[in-house]
């Protein structure tokens, strides 16, 4: 009787509101938008577990910086990274960064599957977009690889229903590397030499990333993460790729080192691959660099949150000797960071591009002097700040996102200086050290000439600078061992606080000795490192997050030592 009143079939057909199904995304226009969505994963970085910025994993763990913040309890997960000995398999932020990387991989795979299925006729950019997506996927896998070593590899041809059958050990170390290099090789083959849209990756960006990935692979590791051999053919390929990039003439070192860390000069000649951030773009707060949102000082102009504080060790490393060269082994003997004496010794100017210290201008602004009161917990982390990732309050890219601080300044993943030093590194390990010399000196020369912005209000130099080039037989003895030490030190200074130092140490096989030596001295300076200890054969990589082992019902295997 009531059934005639309402036809039950129809009334329960409520169309979904405000969403779209997978089938509706198959048009060329929407497929192109899915490529944008994959790029967008680069910019979705976040301070809780960054991945476009690697500071908690590469700078904090590499001894460049302390975690900072209010104390060990503030983002305590990073404190566990910093001390190694306290890190745990159930550290929730490990699980989170793992997930975020697979979000990026997932977006690339999703778009790639769609691009593969559409014809060239309907989608003339097919090959180019495939190459871009493989670059992006390679990037996310590379990060997962250097953080976790063994990760499950999933590509666009696998059904999601089979994902739970793929172990993180399905591919041995070398094969997993090979998958990642395959993506960059494919990208390098199909990408155009330059892109009208500067956010899109180009052929040389892919070649540069390929060189980076090959360089990491060249130092072959055993199950205990120790370097067992160095693969010369891979080094040769690194060298060749670097040559191609150099020969292209598309890139050069910026005249002033500072230009790599200013929004006004972003996407400049040195930038090979950078995360593009934006503001006033119609999104609620702007697509800002949230990976560094905690890394500003605690003053009224900023106000949050005092993370990523340069260590004394790093600051001391910028000290140069009477010859204007770094002090490879003795730099830490005098703690200039403790006595804040930057006049009686000499320093590499890159220090004042990298480190904010009491009494010195913050970010090149002569009437904006960093104060001890700007630091958050000086009793624990002392009173310095990192500056490469920050911008001035009046910079057009600056954007407060209370309580945090953001900017639309791009973040460099690969700059040309890296290419030069990879080539130098490959040459040194190929026992062609002398060929590496001009490359390293090119970097040092640029450092030496980058002092225009490092001035006090009265025009005097912020610190006492002295950087000289390596002159074999004059101020140095350019053996392979010496060249290796010089290269490694140069990388640390050039890329200080940029997020990859720890991964350099692991690649070189010296993480354990370097970090334990660092802790031995540094813990006498700051109390929070008291229990820090690097366990050789374990701490080179994070553990596979316990959650993932559990979710895979034990299919995933834990890393050595965990």
């Amino acid at each position: 009787m009531f059934t005639v009143l309402i036809s039950c079939k129809k009334v329960l057909d409520e169309p979904a509101q405000g969403v779209v199904s997978s089938e509706d995304l198959g048009t060329p226009e929407n497929i192109d938008k899915m490529v944008i969505a994959a790029y967008s994963a680069l910019g979705n970085d976040h301070y809780t577990s960054p991945y476009s910025s690697m500071w908690p994993y590469g700078s904090v763990r590499g001894g460049d910086t302390y975690k900072g913040g209010d104390g060990p309890g503030d983002l305590s997960e990073f404190h566990l990274f910093e001390t190694f000995s306290l890190n745990r398999v159930d550290n929730p932020l490990l699980d989170q960064v793992w997930f975020r990387l697979y979000v990026g991989i997932g977006r690339a795979n999703d778009a790639l599957k769609r691009v593969n299925e559409i014809s060239d006729v309907d989608f003339p950019k097919k090959a180019e977009r495939q190459a871009e997506l493989r670059f992006l996927r390679g990037h996310f896998y590379f990060l997962a690889k250097i953080l976790f070593k063994y990760v499950p590899y999933l590509d666009e041809n696998m059904e999601k229903t089979t994902y739970n059958t793929i172990s993180n050990r399905a591919l041995p170390d070398a094969e997993l590397w090979a998958k990642i290099t395959d993506d960059f090789r494919a990208a390098a083959n199909a990408l155009p030499e330059s892109q009208a849209e500067s956010g899109r990756v180009s052929k040389f960006a892919a070649k540069a990333y390929l060189a980076k990935v090959l360089l990491y692979q060249a130092y072959e590791q055993g199950e205990d993460h120790q370097v067992t051999s160095i693969n010369a053919s891979k080094l040769e390929e690194v060298n060749a790729l670097a040559d191609e990039i150099i020969a292209s003439g598309k890139y050069s070192l910026t005249t002033d080192y500072a230009n790599n860390f200013l929004a006004t000069t972003q996407n400049g000649p040195e930038s090979i691959f950078a995360i593009q951030y934006s503001k006033d773009d119609g999104t609620p707060k702007g697509r800002l660099d949230y990976g560094h949102a905690l890394n500003y000082p605690m003053n009224q102009e900023y106000g949050c949150c005092g993370f990523n504080i340069p260590s004394h060790d790093l600051i001391n490393a910028f000290k140069t000797d009477v010859n204007g060269l770094p002090q490879f082994t003795t730099y830490n003997n005098v703690d200039v960071a403790a006595n804040l004496d930057f006049k009686s010794s000499t320093f590499d100017p890159r220090m004042d591009h990298t480190v904010a210290r009491p009494g010195a201008p913050y970010k090149y602004k002569t009437n904006f002097i960093f104060q001890r009161s700007w630091s958050r917990a000086p009793a624990i982390y002392d009173s310095f700040a990192s500056m490469k990732e920050t911008v001035l309050p009046e910079d057009p890219s600056f954007q407060k996102v209370p309580p945090f601080i953001g900017s639309s300044k791009n973040w460099e993943i690969i700059r040309y200086a890296d290419v030069l030093l990879w080539k130098a590194e490959a040459l040194i390990e190929l026992n062609r050290s002398l060929e590496a010399l001009p490359l390293i000196n090119q970097i040092r020369n640029r450092a030496n000439t980058s002092t225009a912005l490092l001035k006090m209000a009265d025009g005097s130099a912020t610190s006492n600078y002295n950087v000289q080039l390596y002159q074999p037989g004059v101020n140095s003895d350019w053996t392979q061992a010496y060249a290796r030490a010089a290269l490694r030190f140069e990388r640390r200074l050039e890329f200080a606080t940029e997020g990859y130092h720890f991964f350099d140490l692991v690649r070189w096989g010296i993480a354990s000795q370097t970090m334990n030596a660092y802790f031995e001295i540094e813990k006498r300076r700051v109390a929070h490192l008291n229990d820090a200890r690097f366990t050789k054969g374990r701490d080179e990589y994070f553990p596979i997050p316990l959650n993932q082992i559990n979710f895979s019902s034990g299919l995933y295997k834990q890393n050595n030592g965990w």
């Binding site: 969505a37 309890g73 009793a379």
Partner: protein
């Protein structure tokens, strides 16, 4: 479904009627208080002619002169009324004092006498809660109904959480509310408490299943007041209350904060003067440190605007304030129709400054009889308008704990004080209040139905009802620019948003009652259709020239123009039928069948069928019990039923993408899919699509099966009455969206029917009612309930998303909300103990010792185990009321036995977890070589021992016993010569005292962490009925 209807049609045609040759009589039966009695049996003595009174106490019967009518009502002495030639109207009063079993109860599209009820149903004594000025009837019910756990806080705007018989599902556990027959999932906070005539709680599936789809968490039935035929009256209630913030958390003052910092630094062997605020005059001897004086700077900021203060932030943000409550109701009942009109106003200024809430309510309930009283057309309609403050109360309360006392409220030039160097980056809570005081939300809700009842044939009634439950919220807020210590935001912003949502509910029922000799049968068949829509939009702009709420409209903004909006919809379609059968008032049976369809499930699984039955045996009607004088009433009940749950997002069965241009990533990762591919750094961006979920076409109804065993009794002429119920509730196919293997990436979340839960428990209520003499009567009502809850099944692949280690220690067999963590085994008190203990990074004197559960000599994640749950062990309540002449006195005690997680210990007990915040006074009693009896870890600035890890250190006994209400009233109606029906004055207090466990270290275990504190309230008020 068609079969059921056919069955009814056949049944109707099989029944015939006989009509006598006598004259019609009508009348009304009331109790001594002139309240109409429904369900009184009226019998013409010596014949089989019998009828029952309706809800207005009215009856019609045919009899001849010389016969007598006899009125039966259980628990009351029968009344005989002889009929003479002049008798037209028969008005009878019956004495039903001390007879709660006789109430008529709404139990699901129909009414039943309580004595016929076979499910687990509690009737709330609305009179007990009538004058409690909580602004939300649900809050006033806290602890009064066994098996119903209500948790709430002291916010003037705050709702209450209602959990009936444990945690039955892993999603939404809110019950269904049925207000005047209209179902809704919104609570009662928008109602005028004094409009409520009665509240019933249907706790078990056998009684709730008739409400089907959304009844699995229990049903709260609310009936609002109607005018009564033949009565017209005016009710006025007014009360004013004063409320206070009862117990504030004890934090350090400025000097103590300095001292605690010094202690912590000295314990670390660190220079205490290496901080930016406090300096110390001390002996510089770390082995035997002596502090002479804490030195305060002239200003705490470099700019010299903030001299050191000694601010107790809780005092600055709180206030003694007023609650006002007024309502007026006019009702008029007549032969042809009844109408009631009421207005209410409730105003609560809150114990946190500017947490003001105002509620305006209006109700119009009316019905009109026509076609010889065969047709009744009526409506129940209420409108509520609520204006709520939009201050960020939880931020304010938290900031009051963590903001340092040395920070002044204002700078010397009248600006805002705020955190200085080295302090936590939390806001000045007073600024949060002041800068948001003009920001309000405006909420309206229209709720009610229009209905028609038609008596098709005697005993056969058709009812149709169109209900509406629609609400809207409008917000316009201004975020002001500010500078407060090192926190500053130069940008202002106006935000404007509107949300509209609601249901249309169409119900049709056919009800047939038949009495034949010893048999009484009632049939119900019905249909219900619900459609819900939800839509919202919002916009904001920045760059306002004036920071004034009267200026702050969107048009006034000039920069950063943003907008957003979304919508959702679902529909439910249901058919149901019920048969109640009573044999000789002794044997009772009831069968229910309901079939529900929901648009949320895939096409194949849209419908679920939910049956129930219940049986009752009124032992007291049996001869062998009747011999026992002390038993006045005794009934055994058993019920079984299944009910459903569809509480998942509207599109949960579909795989979907969303165009997410941008989200606010302040607190969480951006899920957006736009990217600055041009490298321009600004302007409109190209954007893609984000996968938001994986579909599951096989998704189906979650279902709950419950068995209920009950006994109702009345002893000693019903002086002592009560009920005991034992239940076993099993929920299966629970709709969950478990965490998933991370490689699935974004949108890997997917709803499945994936878990089973079991709840077992009992609830009991006992009431003792006695009249000691004509002037003095006493009622004691106690209730007690407990339940035990456990997870009985989870698919292996989702186990890891619940507490446990994912392998050998899992949630299976444990309470849903179990805690998993380390066992804190006290503090290390000697170096020998430190050395003997398992390897534990950071262990040391005065540090927390964690137990090596697996005995492998090292403390790591393998040493975690289940360390309790938040399920209450039991809950109890006791209401005592005493009437002496014109005085009434009552009080109500409520208790709960439970463990809670006291997260605030992070701040009250540790100087190391958040070094820049203020800390609790407890830190002054921390362990030290000279204070070895303390259980509070030694002060340090560096948390080397990872003491913030979740452990038993943070779990405390949160049990409490509260005096919820104490009330004294005096009725002075006799003082007036006018025809005043009632004139009562009362004073009462709420939450007057709390007894808590000594081991609970916070101020109030009811609000162990971040909630709005429950105030102590004193009220004076009047009730007048003209």
């Amino acid at each position: 479904m068609k079969r059921i209807f056919l069955f009814f049609v056949l049944l109707l045609s099989a029944v015939g009627w006989s009509f006598g040759q006598v004259r019609p009589l009508s009348g009304t039966v009331t109790d001594k208080a002139s309240t109409a009695l429904e369900g009184v049996t009226v019998n013409v003595v010596g014949t089989k002619t019998t009828t029952m009174t309706d809800q207005n106490g009215q009856f019609r019967i045919e009899a001849s002169t010389g016969q007598s009518l006899k009125f039966f009502y259980v628990g009351a002495e029968p009344v005989t009324f002889p009929i003479d030639a002049s008798t037209r109207n028969v008005n009878v009063q019956m004495d039903i004092s001390s007879n709660k079993l006789e109430e008529v109860v709404v139990t699901g599209y129909q009414t039943e006498r309580k004595k016929d009820i076979t499910g687990a149903v509690n009737v709330v004594d609305v009179a007990d809660i009538k004058d409690i000025p909580t602004g939300n009837p649900t809050k006033a019910l806290q602890g009064r109904v066994p098996g119903v756990l209500i948790t709430t806080d002291g916010s003037p705007t705050g709702g209450a959480t209602v959990r009936i018989r444990g945690i039955g599902t892993l999603g939404n556990n809110d019950p269904l509310y049925v207000i005047d027959g209209v179902p809704t999932k919104s609570g009662l906070e928008q109602l005028n408490q004094n409009d409520i005539e009665s509240i019933q709680v249907l706790k078990d599936a056998s009684s709730a299943t008739i409400y089907g789809s959304r009844a699995a968490n229990g049903v709260v039935i609310v009936t609002t007041k109607k005018a009564k035929n033949g009565f017209s009256k005016v009710d006025v209630n007014a009360s004013t209350s004063i409320q206070n913030y009862a117990t504030k958390l004890k934090t350090l003052n400025a000097e103590e904060r300095g001292r605690a910092y010094w202690l912590a630094a000295v314990n670390d062997g660190a220079n205490p003067n290496n901080n930016q605020i406090y300096q110390y005059d001390w002996n510089n001897d770390f082995t035997n440190p002596v502090l002479n004086r804490v030195l305060l700077p002239e200003f705490i900021d470099a700019a010299g605007t903030m001299p050191p203060a000694d601010t107790y932030w809780y005092d600055e943000i709180s206030q003694q304030s007023i609650i006002q409550s007024y309502d007026l109701s006019l009702s008029n009942g007549g032969e042809k129709g009844n109408s009631l009109f009421s207005l209410g106003y409730y105003d609560n200024k809150g114990i946190v400054k500017e947490s003001h809430s105002q509620k305006y309510t209006a109700r119009f309930n009316s019905d009109y009889k026509m076609l010889n009283n065969k047709l009744t057309i009526g409506e129940n309609f209420s409108a509520s308008y609520i204006k709520n403050a939009l201050i960020p109360a939880s931020d304010i309360l938290f900031a009051s704990l963590v903001q340092q006392p040395i920070v002044p409220v204002h700078t010397i030039d009248g600006g805002w004080g705020g955190p200085a160097a080295g302090m936590t980056d939390r806001q000045n809570p007073v600024r949060l209040i002041e800068d948001n005081r003009d920001n309000k939300s405006y909420f309206f809700r229209l709720f009610g139905n229009a209905f028609a009842n038609y008596d098709v044939l005697p005993g056969l009634t058709f009812r149709t009802s169109i209900g509406i439950d629609y609400n809207g919220t409008y917000q316009r807020t201004l975020k002001k620019s500010y500078t407060s210590g090192f926190l500053a935001d130069p940008a202002n912003q106006v935000f404007n948003g509107q949300v509209y949502q609601g249901n249309i509910i169409w119900q049709n029922t056919l009800n047939y009652k038949l009495e034949k000799g010893k048999h009484s049968v009632e049939f119900l068949a019905g249909h219900e259709y619900i459609r819900n829509i939800n839509q919202e939009f919002s916009a904001s702009r920045q760059g306002l020239a004036l920071e004034n709420i009267n200026y702050a409209y969107l048009n006034a903004g000039s920069t950063n123009t943003l907008n957003g909006g979304s919508g959702a919809a679902y529909a439910l379609l249901s058919y149901f039928g019920k048969v109640n059968y009573v044999l000789a008032d002794k044997y009772i049976a009831s069968v229910t069948l309901r079939r529900d369809g929901s648009s949320r499930f895939g096409a194949e699984n849209r419908y679920g069928t939910f049956p129930a039955f219940s049986l009752g045996w009124r032992l007291s009607e049996e001869a062998f019990i009747k011999q026992l004088d002390f038993i006045s009433d005794l009934k055994l009940r058993y019920g079984w039923g299944r009910s459903g749950n569809q509480d998942i997002p509207d599109n949960a069965s579909l795989s979907l993408y969303s165009a997410i241009y941008g989200v606010d990533p302040t607190w969480d990762f951006d899920r957006g899919s736009a990217y600055d591919i041009n490298g321009g750094g600004t302007g409109q961006l190209p954007s893609g699509f984000t996968m938001i979920q994986q579909g599951n076409a096989a998704l189906k109804w979650e279902s709950l099966q419950e068995s209920n065993f009950g006994v109702d009794f009345g002893l000693f002429n019903n002086k002592l009455t009560g009920s005991f119920d034992y239940f076993i509730k099993k929920t299966s196919d629970i709709l969950i969206s478990p965490a998933f293997l991370a490689v699935l990436g974004e949108g890997g979340n997917r709803f499945i029917n994936g878990a089973s839960l079991q709840n077992k428990g009992l609830d009991a209520i006992i009431s003792y009612d006695t009249k000691l003499n004509d002037d003095l009567s006493l009622n004691l009502t106690g209730n007690f309930s407990l339940y035990r809850n456990k997870v009985t099944y989870l698919p292996k692949e989702v186990l890891a998303s619940y507490p446990g280690n994912g392998t050998d220690k899992t949630i299976l067999g444990r309470a849903v909300n179990s805690y998993f963590g380390y066992v804190a085994d006290g503090l290390f008190t000697s170096q020998a103990e430190v050395e003997a203990a398992a390897e534990q990074p950071g262990k040391g004197l005065g540090r927390i010792k964690y137990r090596d559960l697996n005995g492998d000599g090292i403390i790591n994640d393998q040493d975690r185990d289940f360390i309790g749950s938040n399920s209450p062990r039991y809950a109890a309540g006791l209401n005592v009321s005493l009437n002496y002449k014109n005085f009434d006195f009552s009080f109500f005690l409520q208790g709960l036995n439970v463990n809670v997680v006291n997260d605030f210990k992070t701040y009250t007990d540790f100087s190391s977890l958040w070094t820049g915040t203020n800390w609790g006074s407890r830190t002054l009693d921390a362990w030290s070589p000279s204070n070895t009896g303390s259980s509070i870890p030694a002060l340090t600035l560096v948390d080397r021992n990872n003491e913030g890890r979740f452990s038993t250190y943070f779990i405390e006994n949160g049990s409490y016993l509260k005096l919820r209400n104490l009330q004294i009233g005096y009725n002075f109606k006799k003082a007036f010569n006018m025809k005043i029906q009632n004139a009562r004055m009362f004073v009462q207090g709420s939450n007057l005292f709390t007894i808590k466990s000594k081991s609970f270290t916070g101020p109030d275990p009811e609000i162990p962490n971040y909630g709005f504190p429950v105030p102590v309230v004193g009220t004076i008020g009047i009730n007048v009925t003209l």
